[in-house]
C-alpha cells in the first residue's frame, strides 16, 4: 500500500522538477512559441503544417538565423483541445518568454485571442476565420491565408464567370455545404451577402459530423437545383461527398472546395471522384513548381523527403513562419527591442511581400491584418492540382 503511495509521490516530485525550465529574453536565441495538432482531430493536415513550420526554423538557423540570431522554436502537440492550448500558451508566454506565437485551429485561436491581445503577442494560425481580422477584437492576430469569407466570394466569382463562359445565361444557383462548426459557418454571412448582391440564389446546408453517407444533403442540393456547390469542410467528409455525388451521377454540378478540403489528401481519399473538382487554394500546391518552393524542396530532400510527400500544408506552414520571421527581421533591422508591440508594428509595415509565387503578395497595415486577399483556383486533372485561373481578388 505504502509503496504505491511512494511511487505516486515520486511521480509528483518528477513533475515539480520537470516544470522548472525558464529562460532569459535578451540576446541568445529568439523564442517562438507554437502549438500543433499532431494527435487530435485535425492531425492529418496539422502534421505537415507543423513540419513546415519546424523545417523553416531549422533551415533558417542553418543559414545563420535572423540577423545572426538563432530562432528557438518551442512547440508541443495540443491534440486540438482548447484547455491544452491554454496551458501551453500560458507556459510559453510566462515561463519561456516567447515573443511571437504560431497557433493552429479556429477554436483555440478564438479562445486565446483575448489573452493574446492583453499579453501583446503577435499570433498567426492556420485559422482564416473572418472573426480574427477585427483590429479591435483581435489586435495581435495576423492572417497569412485568404479568409474563408474571401475564399467563398472568390469561388462565387469564378463560378459566375465559368457559368457565362459555358454559354449559359442568367446567374447560376449555388449551395454552401459546410462543417457544422464555427470553422464551417465562418464564410457564410459574407458569402451570402456577396451572392445576393450579384443576384445569385444561394443556400447553406450543414454536413452532420461523423456522417457515413451524405446522400440526403446531396438530394437537398438537387431539390434546390444548385449548379455549383462550395464545400467548407475537411478532407474526409468532402471526399465522401464527392464519392456520393459520383454514385448519384451528379456530373452536371460543379463542386468547389475551400482550402481545407483542397489538397493532396482529398485526391487520395476521393480517388477518381475527385477528377474535375475545383479548389480555392491560397497556397500553391507542390504539384506546381514555383520559386518560393525551392528552399523548402531542398531542405526536404536533405532530410530524405520530398515536397510532394508533405504536400501543400507543409508549404503553408513554411511560409506562415517565413512571414512571421520577416516581422522579427524588420524589428531587428530597425534596432528596436524585440517586444510584441514592436514586432506587430513592423509586421504592419509589410507591403507586397513576395512569397515566390506560393501566394499572392502579402501586405499588412495598422488597420488590416488580413494579409492575403487573392488566390488562384485549381482543378484536379489526372490526379493533380492544375491552375485554371489567374489570381482572383475578393475585392
Amino acid at each position: 500500500m505504502f509503496r504505491k503511495s511512494l511511487v505516486f509521490l515520486m511521480l509528483l516530485s518528477v513533475v515539480i522538477a520537470a516544470c522548472g525550465p525558464s529562460g532569459s529574453t535578451e540576446a541568445g536565441p529568439i523564442k517562438v512559441g507554437a502549438i500543433f495538432d499532431l494527435t487530435g482531430a485535425t492531425s492529418d493536415v496539422g502534421t505537415p503544417y507543423a513540419e513546415g513550420v519546424k523545417a523553416y526554423v531549422d533551415w533558417l538557423n542553418g543559414k545563420g538565423g535572423v540577423n545572426e540570431r538563432q530562432i528557438e522554436l518551442i512547440s508541443a502537440d495540443y491534440g486540438y483541445k482548447v484547455p491544452n492550448a491554454e496551458q501551453l500558451y500560458s507556459q510559453y508566454v510566462t515561463q519561456d518568454k516567447v515573443v511571437v506565437f504560431q497557433g493552429w485551429g479556429t477554436g483555440d485561436t478564438e479562445a486565446l485571442r483575448g489573452k493574446i491581445a492583453s499579453d501583446k503577442i503577435p499570433f498567426m494560425s492556420a485559422s482564416y476565420s473572418a472573426n480574427l481580422i477585427s483590429i479591435e477584437e483581435a489586435p495581435y492576430n495576423f492572417l497569412i491565408g485568404t479568409t474563408y469569407s474571401d475564399q467563398m466570394i472568390i469561388a462565387i466569382k469564378w463560378a459566375m464567370d465559368d457559368w457565362a463562359a459555358k454559354g449559359n445565361s442568367g446567374t447560376p444557383k449555388m449551395a454552401l455545404l459546410h462543417h457544422d462548426s464555427p470553422f464551417g459557418q465562418s464564410p457564410w454571412p459574407d458569402g451570402e451577402a456577396f451572392a445576393e448582391a450579384n443576384g445569385v440564389e444561394i443556400t447553406a446546408i450543414p454536413m452532420p459530423g461523423g456522417a457515413t453517407d451524405l446522400t440526403p444533403e446531396l438530394s437537398q442540393v438537387q431539390t434546390f437545383g444548385a449548379n455549383y456547390v462550395i464545400i467548407q469542410n475537411v478532407d474526409g467528409p468532402a471526399s465522401l461527398l464527392l464519392k456520393n455525388a459520383q454514385s448519384l451521377g451528379m456530373s452536371d454540378v460543379q463542386f468547389i472546395g475551400l482550402n481545407w478540403c483542397s489538397d493532396e489528401l482529398l485526391i487520395e481519399l476521393a480517388g477518381d471522384a475527385a477528377e474535375g473538382f475545383v479548389g480555392a487554394l491560397p497556397f500553391t500546391p507542390p504539384s506546381i513548381e514555383v520559386d518560393g518552393m525551392k528552399d523548402a524542396a531542398e531542405y526536404a530532400s536533405s532530410k530524405g523527403k520530398s515536397l510532394q510527400e508533405w504536400g501543400v500544408h507543409y508549404i503553408q506552414g513554411w511560409w506562415t513562419m517565413a512571414v512571421m520571421t520577416e516581422g522579427i527581421k524588420r524589428t531587428l533591422d530597425a534596432k528596436q527591442d524585440l517586444t510584441g508591440e514592436n514586432i506587430r508594428a513592423n509586421l504592419e509595415k509589410i507591403q507586397n511581400f513576395d512569397t515566390g509565387g506560393v501566394t499572392t503578395n502579402i501586405s499588412f497595415s495598422p488597420t488590416d491584418h488580413a494579409g492575403n486577399k487573392a488566390l488562384r483556383l485549381f482543378r484536379v486533372e489526372g490526379g493533380k492540382w492544375t491552375p485554371i485561373s489567374d489570381y482572383i481578388s475578393a475585392e
Partner: protein, 347 residues
Amino acid sequence: MQSGIFHASYQKDMAFRHTPAQFIRLGLVLAFALIFPFLANNYYLTLANQIGVAAIGAIGLNLLTGFTGQISLGQGAFMAVGAYSSGLMAARLGLPWFVTIPLACLITAMVGALFGVPSLRLKGLYLAIATLAAQQIIEWLITHWDALTGGVEALVVPAPTLFGSAINTDFRFYWIILICLIGTTLFASNLLRSKVGRAFVAIRDQDIAAEVMGVNLFRYKLTAFAVSSFFVGLSGALTAHYRTIISWERFTLETSILFLAMIIIGGLGSISGSIYGAAFMTLLPAILSNLGRGLEDFVPAMARLIPFLQQAAFGLVIILFLIFEPEGIAKLWRDVKDYFRLWPFSY
C-alpha cells in the same frame, strides 16, 4: 498509540472533522491556498485556476454520480448552460458578474432537473444514454439557436469588474475561483451530513430499499440533479468569465467524459477525491508535455514519437490507476494517512 477512531457520542460521529490532525491539515491547505498566488507565476496560476474550475464541476458531478449513483454524460452540456447563461446575461444585458453567476447556476439547476426526469424510470446504462441525449440536445440548441446564443460564433464575455477594477488577470481571478471552490466544498460536505445527503446515499446503495424506508425517490433524484447541475453551472459560468471568450467546442461530450474520468480517478463518492481528480486530470497533460520536452532534448531522434507517447501515457496512467487503486486518489491518500498514524506498528 491508537488503533482507530472511536466515537462516543452522536455529536462526535457527525462532526465535520474528527481529529486534531485533520484540522491542522485543513489549516495548512488553506494557508497554502492563500500564499500560493503570491509565489506562483502566471503559468502556475493558470493551472491552479483550471484545477479550481474543474474541481467545482467535478464536485457537482460527484454529488450526482458518486453519491446518488446516477450516471451523467451531460456534464459538458450543463457546463455550457451555465457558461452561456452567465455570459449572455453579462454581454447582452450588461448585468454584473456577481448577479449573472448565481442566476446562471439556478438556470443550470432547473435545466439539470428537467433532464433528470427520466432518471425516475431509467437506471445505469439507460440513464447514461438519456443524459447523452441531453448533451446532444443542448449542444444542438447552442449551435443552432442563433438569435439567443449567437450560434457557432464564439461568445465574448466582458471581464468581471469589482469596485471599478477589472478582474482580468490570473492572479485576480484566482480569488474568485478560490472562494467559489471553498463554498462548494463546504456546501457539498455538509449536504452529505444532512438528511438529503443520506437520502442520496441510500438511493445509490439500493433504491428500492430506500423507497421502502420512505425516501421519496422522484424528489431526491431530481434534487440530486438540480444540486449537481447548480455546481456544474457554476463551473461553466466561471469558465465564461475567466476565459472571456467561449464557444460550444469547449463543452462537448469529450468534456463530459473527462469529468467522469476525474471523479473515477479521484474517488467516487468523495468530495476531496473530486478535487484530487480534477488536479490530476488537469496536471497530467502539463506533466506529460513537460516530460516530453525534457525527453526531446535527451533523445532528439524520438521527437516525432513523443506526442504519441504522451497520448499512450495518458491512457496508461488511467488504466493503471483503475487497476491498482479503483477507489481513486482519495483512497490512496487515506492509506498514506493510516500508515503514518499507525507507524511503526502497522498491521
